[in-house]
């Protein structure tokens, strides 16, 4: 059986989530407002084994030192594993991350989505466990693709020899993947790396200029790299629709600077098959960074 990790951008819900020990996935769904998470059969009843805290998509959302310490403490008290999630980082973002690293005990996982982050971990904290995040494990994930043929035009190299060599050079033995549109169970089969897969959402594209993060900025400060924001992404989510043109699209939404899609039944089937085959040893559930389609 694969283990379940719960990914959270914010630590504020952790105390309630963990007050009775490791929660079942169904408990998380209720507390985090997932209306009907499309997950493989049987996952609902599984207990969460790990907490992954941070953001894969924006350096503004790196946890503060107190948030990180609190989350590590709560996860440890509940007997859960812990990982710090990190996004693509500028040099100032790397400096902020470096300040957090002393808080991490030897053997803690750090999910990196930036080659500079991995290099820094290799050089200054080789005792931590680096994980290649899904921004580094590239594959076609366009929610509009009309057929599988389109994805086959650009086959992914997540399990290719050359990519594997780079992972080995960086001391990486675990990768994180999304379920791509028109996924096949074989997409997750690695000869060398342990594979974590995110569910029930994948990401298609991320930006640095942030649409919702521009909400509180003057016109000249909107939609630009390094812009300031008020973390509006924690408050709003945008459902995206192409109207009739998008009748066959995967359900799509934008949270912060990133566009996501919800898994289809056929994608969940492929995921289930790969889980059953033992090709995926960890499912990472998108805890508080999702559609949040709560009833109004």
């Amino acid at each position: 059986m694969s283990e379940v990790a719960l990914a959270l951008v914010q630590a504020k819900t952790l105390e309630r989530l963990l007050e009775n020990g490791p929660p079942r996935v169904a408990d998380c769904a209720g507390m985090l407002g997932w209306p009907a998470p499309p997950l493989p059969n049987g996952v609902d009843g599984q207990r969460v084994a790990r907490i992954h805290l941070g953001s894969e998509f924006c350096e503004t959302l790196l946890p503060s030192e107190p948030q990180l310490e609190q989350a590590i403490g709560l996860a440890g008290a509940a007997g859960l594993g812990f990982a710090l999630l990190t996004p693509a980082l500028s040099d100032s973002g790397l400096a902020a991350l470096a300040a957090l690293l002393p808080r991490l005990a030897r053997g803690t996982e750090v999910v990196a989505n930036d080659w500079g982050t991995l290099r820094m971990l290799r050089d200054i904290r080789p005792d931590l466990i680096p994980v290649a995040g899904r921004l580094l494990c590239k594959m076609v994930k366009d929610p509009r693709l009309p057929s599988a043929e389109w994805a086959r035009l650009y086959p992914h190299g997540v399990h290719s020899g050359p990519f594997g060599s780079v992972l080995a050079m960086m001391g990486i033995s675990r990768i994180e993947m999304d379920v791509p549109p028109f996924a096949d169970a074989g997409d997750f089969r690695s000869e060398t790396a342990r594979v974590s897969v995110h569910a029930p959402y994948g990401f298609s594209v991320k930006g640095r200029a942030c649409r919702i993060g521009s909400l509180g900025q003057p016109p000249g400060g909107k939609f630009t790299s390094g812009q300031e924001c008020r973390k509006e992404c924690l408050v709003y989510v945008g459902g995206l629709s192409r109207g009739d043109a998008g009748a066959g699209d995967l359900p799509t939404f934008q949270r912060g600077n990133t566009v996501f899609y919800r898994h289809s039944p056929s994608m969940i089937s492929a995921l289930s098959e790969a889980l059953a085959e033992g090709w995926i040893d960890r499912l990472v559930l998108n805890g508080d960074w999702n559609e949040n389609r709560r009833p109004h």
Binding site: D91, G157, S204, V205, T224
Partner: protein, 353 residues
């Protein structure tokens, strides 16, 4: 600083080089590739590619006659194992022809080519999304001698990265084609127009909700609508101001011309003009604009004067002033947008817009 400019046909090489480009880049999709892989995915673009190996040799020879070089893009974000083998053969063939550099977008391919020691320069493509000095260093460890920085780094970040890695060359975007998202973190396809085109150009409607389940207040609805209206305006700039040009053909759209002095001061080796798939006239006018700006810089004019000259090239400083057309908006914040500083009217150099 060298001008790096694109071509999509051999007969464009001489003109682009004569206009001032010293490094010319192109892609190739040979028929043996399409026969084998049933895909055009040698690089990031399905169109705007050469199709015969002989054309590569011709392009290299023509460029050399004009004091320029040819670089080849292998800048898809990812390749399967068997494709890496085919690309390695292509790289060896291109190196044997006297090609200048390979522009590589897949880190595994970069590492493989770096280990092979082909005797050709390796440039890490902007698709590798290098945003910090550590990432640049790693790309250098894998064999890159130059890193093409993505569009979304700031001038301050560029300056810091270049200062931290003096052993590497850096290239920065200067004109044309503005991804709305990050090119290196975009996992979509530029679909044909009938299927929606690039995802950032597609006609998505947005419906906002609060994640806490509360209804949006009227003031929130108004603020979100106002923000979206400005976002639409930004997209218009991002896509070449409606894909428009001045009366004499100077292209509007994403631009870093007025940042050239800062980029030069940071030690950036080359500035990149995007747009392989564009028409030749757009490429030529783009090279001419960059060349004219570099000429002013090489004449030892002040940075502010060069910036004002660059902003005046299209005689639409009002568009510059929004900052929405900029790769590097910091320059607008530093100098503003105008024809001050006593600079001669750029139209006198480039022709009336």
């Amino acid at each position: 600083m060298k001008i790096v400019a694109p071509i999509s046909r051999v007969d464009e090489v001489a003109a682009v080089a004569a206009a001032g480009a010293r490094e010319i880049y192109c892609g190739i999709v040979p028929t043996d590739w399409t026969d084998r892989f049933r895909s055009a995915g040698v690089n990031r673009r399905a169109f705007g590619n050469l199709t015969r190996y002989e054309e590569l040799g011709e392009a290299i020879a023509i460029a050399a006659d004009h004091g320029a070089t040819i670089s080849l893009v292998m800048n898809a974000q990812h390749y399967a194992d068997e494709q890496v083998g085919a690309l390695q053969e292509l790289a060896e063939r291109f190196a044997g022809m006297g090609g200048h550099a390979l522009i590589v977008g897949d880190i595994g391919l970069l590492a493989r080519l770096g280990r092979r020691g082909l005797g050709i320069r390796l440039h890490a493509s902007s698709l590798l999304a290098c945003r910090n000095a550590g990432a640049a260093a790693l790309l250098g460890e894998l064999g890159a001698c130059r890193v093409v920085l993505p569009r979304d780094v700031t001038l301050g970040e560029i300056t810091a990265i270049a200062a931290a890695r003096p052993e590497l060359e850096f290239e920065a975007f200067v004109l044309n084609d503005g991804c709305v998202f990050e090119e290196g973190n975009c996992h979509t396809i530029h679909l044909p127009g009938r299927l929606g085109g690039p995802i950032c150009l597609d006609r998505y409607a947005v419906e906002y909700d609060r994640v806490d389940g509360r209804r949006l207040a009227g003031t929130e609805i108004e603020a979100l609508a106002a923000n979206d209206a400005l976002h639409d305006e930004w997209l218009w700039y991002r896509f070449g101001c409606g894909f428009s040009v001045t009366a004499n053909g100077l292209p509007f759209g994403p631009c870093g011309l007025c940042a050239v002095p800062t980029l030069a001061g940071a030690g950036i080796a080359a500035v990149k003009i995007a747009g392989r798939e564009g028409p030749l006239d757009r490429k030529l006018k783009s090279v001419e604009m960059v060349r004219a700006t570099l000429d002013r810089l090489e004449d030892a004019e002040s940075d502010a004067s060069v910036a004002a000259f660059a902003q005046g090239l299209r005689a639409r400083q009002d568009l510059c002033a929004t900052g929405y057309m900029c790769y590097y908006r910091e320059v607008i914040e530093r100098y503003g947008a105008g024809t001050a500083h006593g600079a001669p009217a750029p139209a006198a150099v480039m022709g009336a817009p």
